[in-house]
């Protein structure tokens, strides 16, 4: 329990650091982005909205930095992330709310599947060191060195196109209304196969390799020899003795590299014009939509923190030592 509380405290601290970082980034923006927005949308911005944006960008000259900081927190607790420039006057929180389920669905599922599949293959490769799987390792290295987005481009060129089963962009058939019905769900799945496969291919090899190396290290431990000496079946030794112990560093590695993986998968969304956070971030960057960029960064960070916390809980369940005191 103490372990979990420590982790929660750490994640709260990280969240605070990320939010503070997010507070300072827009203050580096040169010029007055709010003023230019106001002049673009003459008379169509309410005074409240202007005030909220001014707080966000720290342009309120009547306040010192500390008061601005408190104001920023007050806005956050009200769920107010400012107004999006591109989708003006939609609030950022609405834009993010629309795209978050897509990213969580695509990135979340593929990340977990890739971790499980890669770990399973790594167990095999590490246990039977010197078998044909070792020969595949250089190939997986090559695959993982390819940038995600490039693999996506190639996948589109090869598999998508006019008349192909795989659509090259979007998250569902245009004309459909997002709902849980028999038209929308198959269309959404059909649109997600290609991006998901791209992410799987390029992210899996990292797991294979780290699990293989841990298996090799573990399989020369004394307790493995003892397990063999007891006459346990090969399968039992490999899975319950070696793999179970080799899994622990991989789970903590999973937690730590989540940030990297999420960053990479956002790019796949850009290539496939998938309606998730990554594509939204891409559009926001193109339009210099600072409130939207910040909001997306904040949401991504917090999602990664939550995923980390879940990985820690998994670690707690797998490793009895952490439960001792």
């Amino acid at each position: 329990m103490r372990f979990l509380l420590q982790r929660v405290a750490f994640y709260l601290f990280t969240a605070w650091a990320a939010i503070t970082l997010n507070f300072f980034i827009p203050r580096l923006v040169p010029g007055d982005p709010v003023q230019s927005l106001i002049s673009r949308n003459q008379g169509r911005i309410s005074a409240d909205a202007v005030q909220s944006l001014r707080v966000l960008f720290g342009l309120d000259k009547n306040e010192n930095v500390w008061e601005q900081y408190l104001d920023y927190w007050r806005q956050l607790f009200h769920g107010d992330l400012g107004l999006s420039f591109t989708f003006f006057p939609t609030p950022v929180s609405t834009v993010i709310g629309d795209s978050l389920p897509w990213t969580v669905g695509l990135v979340g599922i593929t990340t977990i599947v890739s971790f499980l599949l890669g770990t399973a293959l790594g167990v095999g490769a590490g246990w039977r060191r010197g078998s044909w799987i070792d020969g595949l390792l250089p190939a997986t290295t090559f695959l993982s060195s390819i940038p995600y987005f490039w693999l996506g481009l190639v996948a589109i060129a090869l598999f998508a196109g006019p008349g192909s089963f795989f659509p090259s962009s979007g998250g569902y058939e245009p004309g459909l209304v997002p709902a849980f019905d028999q038209y929308f769900i198959p269309s959404a799945i059909q649109h997600s196969i290609l991006p998901a496969a791209t992410i799987l291919v390029s992210s899996m090899s990292g797991w294979i390799l780290s699990m293989r190396n841990m298996m090799v290290t573990v399989s020369s431990e004394d307790y493995i020899t003892v397990a063999h000496a007891k006459g346990l079946s090969e399968r039992r030794v490999a899975l319950s003795y070696a793999a179970r112990n080799a899994l622990l560093p991989n789970v903590s590695g999973f937690a730590l590299s989540l940030g990297f993986i999420v960053g990479g998968t956002l790019l796949v969304e850009i290539v496939f014009s998938y309606p998730g956070l990554g594509y939204q971030l891409f559009q926001a960057v193109g339009a210099k939509d600072y409130p939207l960029m910040q909001g997306i960064f904040l949401i991504i960070t917090i999602s990664v923190l939550v995923a980390n916390l879940l990985a820690d809980v998994a670690y707690l369940l797998l490793d009895p030592r952490t439960r001792k005191s």
Binding site: A18, R129, P138, I224, G259, I261, G263, L266, V271, V304
Partner: protein, 344 residues
């Protein structure tokens, strides 16, 4: 990019290949290149050397000016244009050659910066311990958990048309945390070694102990951290260029992909526009990853892919060799017990 928990963490340097006492001077020469005896490392180093060469001379050997337009619009690869041309008739082969420099320079600067930061923070935290350790570890853990790429994208997009150097600095400042974490763990285990205690007892200054007693034993970890950061930096730079955030006036492989994507190269079937750049990136990443495997296996020989593990015995049966095992074959027929007696 998934970062694999490096196997180096598990190895105690005092027992690894690194710590073997240097042999007689005559043999030292031969051992210096032992790292390259590893096939993976050698392949990686050779590929990297070719890239380095192109980064230096690419500007001069490029057959065309990468910006020069010509009437050969959107041509497939041919003898005149090895990798084909763009929608403006620019030679893609020349763009790739010229772009190599920017990629290598950004990777190098970001790698060096991140490595220096990780040494400063990781080793200091591990060696000093106490409150300094708590603070510095928390700092690196925070940087580790925050998704780096979105942060880099946002920071870079604030600067208009960021130059290569600036991109490298931003990447370097955000990607040191992994190295710092690994270095701290290793320093912690080195700190209480006898030779460090001895140095402390003879009154060496803390700075000298860290520089001359601890750092040399961290060489392998620092090297693999550096290579890992270079991979990440190259990928990030190319990503930034591909999204169109960093300066698009200078050539790198991301810029080529940016134009290819923007001009609908895919829809027009111009595969030559984006395939060479992607392969160049993947090959560079593979070379660096191979060097890292080489370092891992150099330090921890157990990780080498075993050669032949199936062995044929004299009586025609096969046995599979495994780490920590001596295969025992049940005798096919009763073997007479050896007659010799052991001398007392």
């Amino acid at each position: 990019m998934a970062i694999s928990p490096s196997s180096i963490e598990q190895v105690i340097p005092g027992q690894g290949a690194m710590a073997q006492p240097s042999a007689a001077p005559g043999r030292a020469k031969r051992r210096r290149f032992r790292f390259l005896a590893n096939a993976k490392a050698a392949t990686g180093v050779v590929i990297l050397a070719v890239y380095g060469l192109f980064a230096i001379i690419g500007q001069w050997v490029a057959p065309y000016d990468p910006d020069a337009r010509s009437s050969d619009v959107l041509q497939a690869p041919s003898a005149r244009h090895w990798f084909g041309t763009t929608h403006l008739g620019q030679d893609i082969f020349s763009q790739i050659l010229v772009g190599a420099r920017s990629v290598m320079v950004v990777g190098l600067i970001a790698g060096v910066l991140a490595t220096i930061l990780s040494i400063l923070i990781g080793v200091t935290a591990g060696y000093l311990g106490g409150a300094a350790d708590e603070g510095l570890s928390a700092l690196s853990n925070v940087f580790l958990v925050i998704p780096a790429l979105p942060l880099i994208i946002i920071v870079t997009s604030i600067v208009d048309q960021a130059s290569d150097t600036l991109v490298a600095l931003i990447i370097g400042c955000t990607s040191w945390a992994w190295g710092a974490r690994v270095l701290r763990a290793q320093t912690l285990s080195l700190r209480r070694r006898d030779y460090v205690e001895a140095a402390r007892a003879t009154g060496e200054r803390t700075g000298r102990i860290i520089l001359f007693e601890i750092l040399p034993n961290l060489t392998a970890i620092i090297a693999s951290g550096f290579v890992g950061t270079v991979i990440f930096a190259v990928m990030s730079e190319i990503t930034l260029a591909f999204i169109g955030i960093s300066s698009i006036s200078s050539w790198n492989w991301g810029t080529i992909l940016f134009w290819a994507q923007g001009q609908q190269a895919l829809a027009q079937g111009a595969w030559w526009w984006f395939v060479p750049a992607g392969l160049a990136i993947a090959l560079l990443g593979t070379a660096l990853a191979l060097i890292n495997f080489g370092i891992d296996e150099f330090v921890s020989p157990r990780l080498r892919s075993a050669g032949r593990t199936r062995i044929r015995t004299a009586d025609g049966r096969t046995a599979r060799m495994r780490v920590g095992f001596t295969p025992v074959l049940a005798p096919t027929r009763p073997v007479p017990a050896p007659r010799e007696e052991v001398a007392p």
